[in-house]
Amino acid sequence: MGTSPARITPNASPTKMPTTHTENQSQVQTATPKMRASNINFYYGSFKALHDVSLDFAANKVTALIGPSGCGKSTFLRNLNRINETLRDTRIEGEITLDGENILDKDVTEIRRRIGMVFQRPNPFPKSIFENIIYGPRINGLLKNRSAAEVVEQSLRRAALWDEVKDKLHDSAYAISGGQQQRLCIARALAVDPEVLLLDEPCSALDPIATAKIEDLLVSLKHQCTIVIVTHNMQQAARVADTTGFFLLGKLIEHDKTDVIFKNPAKKETEDYITGRFG
C-alpha cells in the first residue's frame, strides 16, 4: 500500500470497506507523478482539517477535487503551494513532493513560482492589465532574455484573452468583466511558466459562458502544465478532469479516473454524494 503511487491510505475511509477497490486505484497509477502528497495532516489551531491525505498528481493531466463545503479540498489545495502557511496558527504534517523533491523543505518563493495558483474570486492587482501580467516575471527576474511586451502577449494568448484586451493593455485591470479578470489571473499565473497550476473554484463567481471559456482553456493548458482544480460543480469536474478525488470530512475518500468516480465509484460515500443524497 505504502509504495503504490496512487493510493488511498487505509484509514482514509470512515467506514470499513473491503479491499476490492484497490484495483480501481491502480487505474490512475502513473510512472512518475508530477506531484505527490503523502500522509498530509493539517491543523487550524487545534482543529484537524485534513486527515492523512495522500494523493498523486499525474503530469499533464487535470485532477479535480470535489466534495461538500468544508470537506478540506480547498485546504488541501492551498497546501500544495504552501499558501496556507501565511495563515496564523496552522500546522502541516506529511510530505509534498514536486518532481520527487519535498517542497516543504525548499525555498517557498521558488516553490510558488513553479506552482501557480488561481483563486476563487478574480484578484487582479490594482494596476493595469500589462502591469498585472508582468508582475510575476519581474519579481522572479525572468525578463532578462525576453521583453516585457513579448511575455505579456504570450501569456494573454495562452489564457485566450489577447484578442479581447490587446487594445487596452494599459487600462485598469478592473475595467474588464469578471470572466476576463479571471482569465487575466490565469494569464498572470502562466506568465512565470509554472509547472503546476492550482485552481481554487475558479468559476464560482462567473456566469456559464465565462465558465465554459475557462474550462476550454484548462483542457488546452494541460499540455503545458499539470492542473489541479477544486470545484463545487460536479459537471465541471466531469467535463475537464482526467481524474477526480472525492473529499469528505477532511479525508480523501476516493481518487480515480473521472468516469469511474461518476459512473462506478468504489465507495458508498462517493456514490451518495455524486447522486445527490447529501452535500
Partner: protein, 281 residues
C-alpha cells in the same frame, strides 16, 4: 395594526430627522467657524500681513511672516520625522509580528494618541529644551512628531488591514516574498487611505498650540532652526490673550490664515490622491 404602523413611521421619521439635524450641525460648525474668522480676520488681511514682521506692543500694523514660515518649518520637520516612523510602525502592526508584541505596540499607540498635548509639551520640554538650555523649532518639531507617529501608525494599520486578503495571496502565489508583496501590492492598494490618514494627521498637528508653548515658544523676529521660533498657533494664542484690540484683530487674521493653509493643503493632497485606480470592494 394601523396605529402600530403609524407609530413605526413616526419613529422612522423622528430618527431620520435627528440624524439629518446632527449631520447639518457637523457641517455647519465648519462654516460657522470659517464665517466668524473671515468676519473678524479679513479686515486685517493685507499683503503686509504676510511679508512683515510683527511690530511692538500696542503698535498697529505689522505682519506675521515669521509665524507662517516658523509653522511651516516646524510642521515640515515634524512630518519628516513622524510620517516615516508612523508609517513603518503601521506596516509592522498590520503585517508582521505574532500576537503579543503588536498588541503592546497598538495599545501603546492608542495611549499615546490619548495623551493630552500639553503633557507631550512638558515631556519635550524636559527631554529636549532643558538639556539644550534653549527653546527651538527642533524641539517643537519633535513634540509634534510624537503626536503624529501614533496617528499615522494607527491609520496606516487600519487601511492596510482593509486590503483584501486575496490580493496578498495573489502576490505571494506568484513567488513574491512578504516585503515585496507589501511594497508592490498591499501599500499601493491602500495608498489613498494611508495618504488621507497622513494628511489628516499633519492637519491635526499644524494647529497644536500647547506642545509648542513649551518647546519652540515664540519669536518677534526671523529665527533659525535652533532658536525659539514663532508659529501660527502660538502667535494666535499670544495675540488673543494680549490686552490690545489691534492684536486681537491680528489673532483673528492669523487664525484665518492657519485654517486656510490647512484647508488648502487638504484639498491639494486629496486632488493628488484621487488620481489612479483604487481597489473595488
Amino acid at each position: 395594526m394601523t396605529s402600530r404602523n403609524s407609530r413605526r413611521n413616526a419613529v422612522n421619521n423622528l430618527m431620520l430627522t435627528l440624524c439629518g439635524v446632527c449631520a447639518f450641525l457637523t457641517v455647519s460648525t465648519l462654516f460657522l467657524i470659517l464665517g466668524y474668522l473671515v468676519y473678524h480676520g479679513a479686515k486685517s488681511l493685507n499683503p503686509n500681513f504676510f511679508v512683515q514682521l510683527p511690530l511692538g506692543e500696542g503698535q498697529s500694523g505689522g505682519g506675521i511672516a515669521n509665524s507662517i514660515l516658523g509653522s511651516a518649518e516646524i510642521v515640515a520637520l515634524a512630518t519628516l520625522i513622524g510620517l516615516p516612523v508612523g508609517f513603518f510602525a503601521g506596516v509592522y502592526l498590520a503585517e508582521f509580528g505574532g500576537k503579543t508584541l503588536p498588541f503592546i505596540v497598538r495599545y501603546t499607540a492608542d495611549l499615546l494618541n490619548g495623551i493630552p498635548s500639553i503633557v507631550i509639551g512638558i515631556f519635550a520640554w524636559t527631554v529636549v529644551v532643558v538639556p539644550m538650555h534653549h527653546f527651538s523649532a527642533l524641539a517643537g518639531a519633535l513634540a509634534l512628531s510624537v503626536m503624529l507617529i501614533p496617528i499615522t501608525a494607527r491609520s496606516t494599520e487600519q487601511f492596510l488591514l482593509d486590503v483584501p486578503r486575496s490580493l496578498r495571496e495573489g502576490a505571494l502565489a506568484l513567488g513574491a516574498n512578504k516585503w515585496r508583496t507589501i511594497a508592490t501590492v498591499i501599500v499601493p492598494a491602500a495608498r489613498k487611505g494611508i495618504m488621507t490618514g497622513m494628511i489628516l494627521g499633519v492637519a491635526r498637528i499644524s494647529g497644536e498650540t500647547a506642545p509648542l508653548l513649551f518647546t519652540s515658544l515664540s519669536n518677534q523676529y526671523w529665527s533659525g532652526i535652533n532658536e525659539p521660533t514663532a508659529s501660527l498657533p502660538v502667535t494666535i494664542f499670544n495675540y488673543a490673550t494680549s490686552a490690545y484690540e489691534d492684536w486681537h484683530q491680528l489673532a483673528w487674521a492669523a487664525g484665518l490664515v492657519l485654517l486656510a493653509l490647512v484647508l488648502l493643503a487638504n484639498i491639494a493632497a486629496r486632488m493628488v490622491i484621487s488620481r489612479g485606480a483604487s481597489v473595488p470592494r
